[in-house]
């Protein structure tokens, strides 16, 4: 079960982080279009930082949730 939890957790965390990064990208691109202060460097660097923090957060949340689900099953 431990292996399953680990596998599902990595998958869930990566998907969650990618979703957050995509959202960030969508909003950031709009900013680049609307304000000269924003550059693509800001967007890409921001995406990297947001992905890093999202991974840390979701990797802390998902294992517990998945373990509970697997136990119930």
């Amino acid at each position: 079960m431990e292996n399953k939890t680990g596998y599902y957790s990595v998958a869930a965390s990566t998907v969650t982080s990618i979703l957050i990064v995509v959202l960030f990208y969508i909003f950031a691109i709009q900013k680049v279009g609307s304000s000269p202060q924003y550059t693509y460097t800001d967007v890409y660097a921001g995406m990297f930082y947001v992905f890093l923090l999202s991974m840390i957060v979701s990797a802390s949340i998902w294992p517990g949730v998945i373990e509970k689900r697997l136990k119930k099953q």
Binding site: S9, Q37, D42, G46, Y49, L52, L53, I56, S60
Partner: protein, 915 residues
Amino acid sequence: MEDVLIKIKGMMCEHCEKKVSEAATSVKGVNKASSDHKKGQVKVSYDTSITDLEDIKKAIAASGYEVIDEEEACPVPVKQAVALPPVKEEAKSGGIQKTTLKLTGMTCASCAQNIEKVLNKIDGVKKATVNFSVEKATIEYDAGKVNPAAFENAITGIGYGVAKPETILKIGGMHCASCALNIETALKKTGGITSANVSFPLEQAKIIYDPEIVSIPEIKKAIENVGYTASEKVDKTEADREQRARESEIKKQKINFIIAAALAVPISLGDMGRNLGWAFVPEVLKNDYLLFILATIVMLFPGRQFFEGTYKGLKHGVTDMNLLIATGTGAAYVISAAATFLDLGEAYKHTYYDTAALLIMFIVLGRYLEALTKGKTSEAIRKLMGLQAKTARILVNGEEKEILVENVNVNDIVIVRPGEKIPVDGNVVDGLTAIDESMITGESIPVEKTVGSEVIGATMNKTGMIKFTATKVGADTALAQIIKLVEDAQTQKAPIQKLADIVAGHFILAVHVLALATFIFWFFIGFEYFNVPATFGMGMISPFLFSLLISITVLIISCPCAVGLATPTAIMVGTGKGAENGILIKGGEALERAQKLDTVVFDKTGTLTKGEPSLTDVIAIKGAENEILKLAAVAEKGSEHPLGEAILKGAKVRGIEIPDAQSFKAIPGRGIEVKFGGKRVLVGTRKLMTENNMDITPQNSRMEELENQGKTAMLVSSDNEIVGIIAVADTLKEHSKEAVSELHNMGFTVAMITGDNRRTADAIAKQVGIDIVLSEVLPEEKASQIKKLQAEGKKVAMVGDGINDAPALMQSDVGIAIGSGTDVAIESAQIVLIKSDVRDVAKSIRLSKLTLNKIKQNLFWAFFYNTVGIPIAAGILYPFTDPPFLLNPALAAAAMATSSVSVTLNTLLMKRIKL
């Protein structure tokens, strides 16, 4: 005439002894009866021509105690402090499982039957068998209906124990309370481990495990797998090893700090000098490549520990403060390196090498100071460990031989000269000396020791040479027990720590969420809304860099170190200070409960009073006082009655010579009749005198006066003429009155509980100033009396010393045992007063309050730092200040380090307070 030993069940104290002895002596033909509640027996001397054993047994049974045949004897088992897990569990098909429990507390085959009976009654148990000789219970049960915890409850519920193997491992590499939680989580997930308690300040893990499922090397591996080190604790060299480990950590962090500081200064000058245009800074220092090299050295050497810790943690899905620091410093370093080597645009000309270097410098400084101060909080244990003598001199075939203290065996004859330490516990067999026991009992005046006296290992022999028989060695010595008790207390978590643990456990996650939210807010909203490019004083800056700086500051300032240190350091210093003063507090829960007490109940006998009668009054009606006392002492010389012993002792104290009487006759329930100097001497009750045709009316008022004072008064007659009155009473301990008055001053209601009659109890209570007197309480009713007080809403502390006090000690909110009391009382209590000084009751409560207040202060400051620091770090002041205020990440690191150090220093202030 025949002497016989009768086994009795149900005797709990001296009152019971008295009752049983009186019941036996009330039988015509019984000359003498002396009971011993500890051995559960009564020794009866009787005339076989007048009575028989059955009549005596009937009389004893009529007094309310059970007479048992020796082969049936099954003493009440002592409840073990430990209890736990199944030794083996085997799954069987169809949900039926089999488990084996290792049992403790069984003394005979009927104990095994009792356990079997109670186990078989549990719903879901198919079959339970208990083997007395191997002390194991094998249970087949339906796992769907019942779990092994129910078996343990059932067994402990009837007074037996379930043994558990326990080990303590030294843990290395922990940096905060989250690390301790990570290890606990990893251990609890390991099969075969039923309980794991990791102490961050003590750097040790207490683990209860099943050796048939998991081995010590496997446990160590589980700890190492999450990035920490584990080693078995060797008690013998523990003090040295702990000291070495502490010194090594201090040295490591000191070197790290020196490197970080030496590099952070030029990096900061260069980076800030270039950004702010400082002309005094040499151009060479402003070079990006040089700054990159210097910052890389900082990251690789002093900073490596944070990245290593993060990597090890993440590999196993755990997070700690290393992650916060690694994310913060890593982000600052990476963005600066990118700006150095890549062309990211005009807004990316700034580098933040100074931020990364200063962050690491301040955090390493914090760790260095923390290592320095943390060592001081566990000083008490180290002091205790250091007290142990290294060698002992024993007699082997009449010759002295010096051996290592751990090689001393029980019954060895040990020789100790003046100025030497007593190596182990024992009984003096030769010599006279004074021993300084202050290191164990806190008592500053040396105690005189002579043949028969007990000596305690680790105390200092002052004046004479003594020989003693070793009675307790190794882990059984008083010192080893004290160390274990203090260590256990320090490893246990106080309920208030749960809050800190919850916060510390979820803090890292919460901080990352907060850092992400802060970044997103400033990137999308704050940067434009507050017109940062125009208002921020650092020139042109990109939205990403600005938001990143704020986000890093939030990560750095939020470290939960201080929250994690707040409770355990205070408990360590509090329990350590207690141990130094002869007060052993068994864990944080006792400290917390003591805070809420409002009523202190004292057991009378042995606690407020000396527990043994002594001569109080000699009233001469005819002749001199000493003559009356001599007559009484001569009469009592052949008696084994405690009252007789008190009279004899009193006479000896007055220097009276006590010759033997010509004949001796004990008159059960009345007194004694002897022939002395040709005269018939009677010592005893009014009834004895009236039955011998003496008029007691003139003495009645004096007798009553003495009895109203709680004394036992006896008449003395010579040749059928009353010549005097002798009174004996259980006298108050020297400091009882002072102890009660101190508790009154602290606002406590003081009660006294005793089996004595109302008159005696009131007399004693009046002398010490007791508020509530609970008299004529049978031993088994003491707990219910405490319960009654609790039902009235009172928070009750019970102070006692005897086996009969144990249930009341358990029932009370805080049980306080007098150190000279029975082992059962000491086990049942949460606080033990080693010095047996009742004044220490107030001291122990004061210490508990002091410790809890310190915990509260620490938690307040720890939370205060974060509560105030996080919003400021997140830029809450930016819109409201002119020029806009933003907390520098380096300042955040300094504040974080300060919070840990200030919490520890605040705790250490406790050491200076006199109890």
